[in-house]
C-alpha cells in the first residue's frame, strides 16, 4: 500500500515534524528580515555612506527617548490596523487594495461626527469610532459585492475606489470641511471629549501622540483572530480562500463569505482612519495616511495573514519606519532605504518556492535518516 510520509508517522513523530516545520517557518521569516536588512546595508555601503552609523540610528534610535517610543507606537497602531484590514480579505484569497479608500472614508466619518455632533463624554469617543467602522465597511462592501456578485476584478475596483475617495477627501478638506478663517488646509479640531486619550496621560511620561488607539488595535487583532479561528463565518472565509470550489460544494455561500471579508476588512481600515483623526492629528489633514495603506499589505504578508502575527509584524515594521526617520536626521542616509528594505521583504516572502525548497530538503534528509535507522 502506498502512503505518504506523514501517514506512517505516529502522533508524537508528527508533532515533532510539525514543530520543526514551524521552526523552519519562523527562522525563514527571520532570515527574510535579516536578508532584507543586509540588502539595505549593502545599498548604503554602495552609495558611499557609513552603513554602521546609519544602522545604529535605525535600530536603536526609536527606543532612545520616550517620545520616540510614542512615535513608534502611534505609527504601529495605524499600520497594524491597516495590515489587519487586508489580512481578512486575503484569507478569502481576495486581493483588496482598497485600504486607502476605506481609511479615508473612516477618517471623514469619524471627523464629521467628532467635530459637529455634540455627544455625552463616553459616547463622544465611541460613536465616531462606530461611524468610521461603518463608513469603512461601506467602502469595502462596494468592491466586495462587485466581486462576489458579478465577478468584477477586485483589484481594479478597489484601485478605482481609492482614486475616487482620495480626491473627494482632498476636496472636502480643501473646501467644505476646512477650518473657517484659517489659511492652512485642515479641518477644525475634534471636540475634546472625542479625543482618544494619549498614553502620556496614563504613564506620565511624554509618549508623543500615541494613544489608547493602541489598546483598541490590540483588541481588534484578538477579535479578528477569534473570528477567523473560532466562528463559522471565519471558517467560511478560510475555506473560501483555501478552495472556493470546495467551499461551494460543501454548501458555503461563497459570494457572501467574500463580501463579509471585504466588509470586515473595510471596517478595520475605517478604524485606522478614526485613530488618525481622534488620536494622532485631532483633525483632518491632507494626505493623512501617506503611504501607509500599501504598507499595510506588507505587514499582512509578512504575518501570513494571521491577525495575531500581524501585530508583531506591524510593530516591527513601524519600528523600522521610526528608525528610518531618526537615521535621516542623524546621518546623511535617506529614510527611503527603509522602503527598499520593506520591498525586499515582500519579494522574499512571496517567493514561496524558497522555504518549500528548504523544507523539502530537510524532509528528505529525515527520510534518509529514518531508513538508515530502520536497517
Amino acid at each position: 500500500m502506498t502512503s505518504t510520509l506523514v501517514e506512517t508517522e505516529d502522533r508524537r513523530e508528527y508533532r515533532a515534524t510539525r514543530r520543526r516545520g514551524l521552526a523552519v517557518d519562523l527562522s525563514m521569516t527571520l532570515a527574510t528580515v535579516l536578508a532584507a536588512l543586509a540588502v539595505g546595508f549593502l545599498v548604503i555601503l554602495a552609495t558611499g555612506k557609513d552603513p554602521v552609523a546609519a544602522y545604529e540610528a535605525l535600530l536603536t534610535g526609536p527606543l532612545e527617548r520616550s517620545f520616540r517610543v510614542g512615535r513608534w507606537l502611534e505609527d504601529a497602531t495605524t499600520l497594524t490596523l491597516l495590515g489587519l484590514s487586508v489580512a481578512i480579505p486575503f484569507r478569502a484569497r481576495q486581493i483588496s487594495l482598497g485600504a486607502e479608500s476605506q481609511l479615508y472614508a473612516g477618517a471623514l466619518a469619524a471627523a464629521v461626527v467628532a467635530i459637529f455632533l455634540p455627544l455625552p463624554p463616553v459616547a463622544a469617543v465611541i460613536v465616531p469610532l462606530v461611524a468610521a467602522a461603518a463608513a469603512g465597511a461601506g467602502m469595502g462592501f462596494v468592491p466586495g459585492s462587485m466581486k462576489a456578485r458579478l465577478g468584477a476584478n477586485e483589484i481594479v475596483a478597489t484601485l478605482m475606489l481609492n482614486a475616487i475617495v482620495v480626491r473627494v477627501y482632498d476636496y472636502l478638506v480643501n473646501g467644505p470641511l476646512k477650518e473657517p478663517g484659517s489659511s492652512a488646509v485642515y479641518s477644525e479640531r475634534v471636540q475634546p471629549d472625542s479625543v482618544l486619550t494619549p498614553l502620556t496621560d496614563w504613564f506620565g511620561i511624554p509618549l508623543g501622540r500615541s494613544n489608547v488607539g493602541l489598546v483598541l488595535m490590540l483588541l481588534t487583532a484578538a477579535a479578528l483572530w477569534l473570528l477567523i479561528t473560532r466562528t463559522p463565518l471565519g471558517y467560511r472565509i478560510r475555506m473560501t480562500g483555501a478552495n472556493s470550489d470546495f467551499a461551494e460544494y460543501g454548501g458555503i455561500r461563497v459570494p457572501r463569505a467574500i463580501e463579509w471579508s471585504f466588509v470586515i476588512g473595510g471596517a478595520v481600515a475605517g478604524l485606522a482612519g478614526a485613530h488618525l483623526v481622534q488620536g494622532v492629528y485631532g483633525r483632518l489633514e491632507p494626505g493623512l495616511a501617506g503611504s501607509l495603506a500599501f504598507e499595510g499589505i506588507v505587514v499582512a504578508l509578512l504575518a501570513r495573514n494571521n491577525p495575531l502575527v500581524v501585530v508583531i509584524a506591524g510593530l516591527f515594521y513601524s519600528y523600522l519606519r521610526a528608525g528610518g526617520d531618526i537615521m535621516e536626521q542623524q546621518t546623511d542616509v535617506g529614510t527611503e532605504i527603509v522602503v527598499v528594505i520593506q520591498a525586499v521583504i515582500v519579494l522574499l516572502v512571496t517567493a514561496q518556492a524558497l522555504p518549500d525548497l528548504l523544507k523539502r530538503r530537510i524532509a528528505r534528509k529525515q527520510a534518509a535518516h529514518k531508513q538508515v535507522g530502520a536497517r
Partner: protein, 311 residues
C-alpha cells in the same frame, strides 16, 4: 455649459488630451501584453517610475537624452523580467510580487535622488532635457489640426503607433499567437510544444519596456525632470484600462485614450467654477460603473471569453 463645449472643442484641449493619454496608452499596452501572457503586471507603476528616474538621471549626468531614455527603458525591461522570474522560478504571486516591485521602485528612486542630489523632491536641479518633438511641416500651418498634431513629443507618436503594433503582434505573428495561447491555456500550449516560459519572459520584457517608455515620457517629455512618485497612480489606471478594454488591443486603446481625455478635461475645466478634485473623479467613477456593467454582462452571457490572469 457653452464654456465646457468651447473647452472640449479647443485645439489646446485636444493637444493636451493626446499628451496626457501618452503614458496611459503605453502603460496600458504594457499591462495588456503581460495580462495576455498570463502574468498580471501590477508593477507597471514601479516600472514607469524607475524608468522616469533613470532616464532623467542618466540624461542629466551624461548629457545625452537618447542614452537616458534608453537606460530608462532598459531598467523597466529588467524589472519586467524580474517579475517574470519571481513568478516562474520562485513561485511568487504575481500581484504581490508586483506590489513589492512598486515599493522597490518608489523607495529606490527616492533614495537615489536624495543620495545623488541631496533633494527630497526630485531632479529639478539637474538639467536633463527632453526628447524631441515632431514638427509636421505641411500640417503645422493648418488652423486646428496643426495645433493639435504638430509639435507633439516623439513618444506620443510612438504611443499611438503602439495600438496597431500590438494588434499586429497579437493577431498576425507567431509570437502573438503563442503569447495568447500561453496566457489562456498554458498546459495546452506546453503540450503542443510552445516554449511557455520563454514566451512569458518575452511578454513581460515587452510589457516592462512599454511601461518604461511611458515613464521616460513623464520625466523627459511631459516635463523635463523627475519628481518623487511622479507616476501618481498612472500605472494602476492603465491597469484598469486593460480590463476596461476587454483585454483587446483596440478596446484598451479606447479605454486609455478615454482616461487621458478625461484627465485633460479635468485640468481644462479647472479654470471654471467646478472643484477640480471632483471633476477628476469622473473617469474613475465611470470605470467603476463600466467594470460592474461589463462583469454583469459577462456573467449573464456565461463564461467570459478571455480569462484575466489574475482571476
Amino acid at each position: 455649459m457653452s464654456s465646457g463645449f468651447d473647452v472640449v472643442l479647443s485645439s489646446a484641449f485636444l493637444a493636451a488630451a493626446l499628451r496626457v493619454s501618452t503614458p496611459y496608452l503605453l502603460a496600458a499596452f504594457g499591462g495588456l501584453v503581460a495580462e495576455r501572457a498570463g502574468i498580471s503586471n501590477i508593477a507597471l507603476e514601479g516600472q514607469m517610475l524607475a524608468a522616469a528616474c533613470t532616464g532623467a538621471l542618466v540624461a542629466g549626468y551624461s548629457g545625452s537624452v537618447a542614452l537616458g531614455a534608453l537606460s530608462g527603458i532598459t531598467v523597466a525591461t529588467l524589472l519586467g523580467l524580474l517579475l517574470a522570474a519571481l513568478r516562474l522560478e520562485l513561485g511568487a504571486d504575481a500581484i504581490i510580487a508586483g506590489i513589492g516591485l512598486n515599493l522597490l521602485a518608489s523607495g529606490a528612486t527616492a533614495y537615489a535622488v536624495y543620495t545623488l542630489l541631496g533633494d527630497k523632491g526630485g531632479t529639478s536641479g539637474l538639467d536633463s532635457g527632453t526628447l524631441p518633438t515632431v514638427p509636421l511641416p505641411g500640417i503645422e500651418s493648418i488652423p486646428v489640426l496643426g495645433d493639435v498634431l504638430s509639435g507633439q513629443n516623439l513618444i506620443t507618436w510612438l504611443a499611438f503607433l503602439t495600438a496597431p503594433f500590438v494588434a499586429w503582434l497579437f493577431y498576425r505573428t507567431t509570437f502573438g499567437f503563442h503569447l495568447r495561447a500561453v496566457g489562456e491555456m498554458p498546459d495546452a500550449a506546453a503540450s503542443v510544444g510552445i516554449p511557455v516560459r520563454r514566451v512569458q519572459y518575452a511578454g513581460l520584457a515587452l510589457s516592462g519596456a512599454l511601461a518604461g517608455l511611458a515613464g521616460v515620457f513623464l520625466s523627459m517629455g511631459y516635463v523635463s525632470f523627475f519628481v518623487r512618485d511622479m507616476t501618481a497612480g498612472r500605472g494602476f489606471i492603465a491597469l484598469a484600462a486593460v480590463f476596461l478594454g476587454g483585454l483587446r488591443p483596440w478596446g484598451v486603446f479606447l479605454a486609455a485614450l478615454g482616461f487621458g481625455a478625461a484627465e485633460a478635461l479635468a485640468v481644462q475645466l479647472g479654470t471654471l467654477d467646478v472643484p477640480p478634485q471632483l471633476v477628476s473623479t469622473i473617469p474613475y467613477a465611470m470605470t467603476l460603473v463600466a467594470l460592474a456593467l461589463y462583469a454583469w454582462r459577462r456573467k449573464r452571457r456565461g463564461v467570459g471569453q478571455v480569462a484575466p490572469a489574475s482571476l
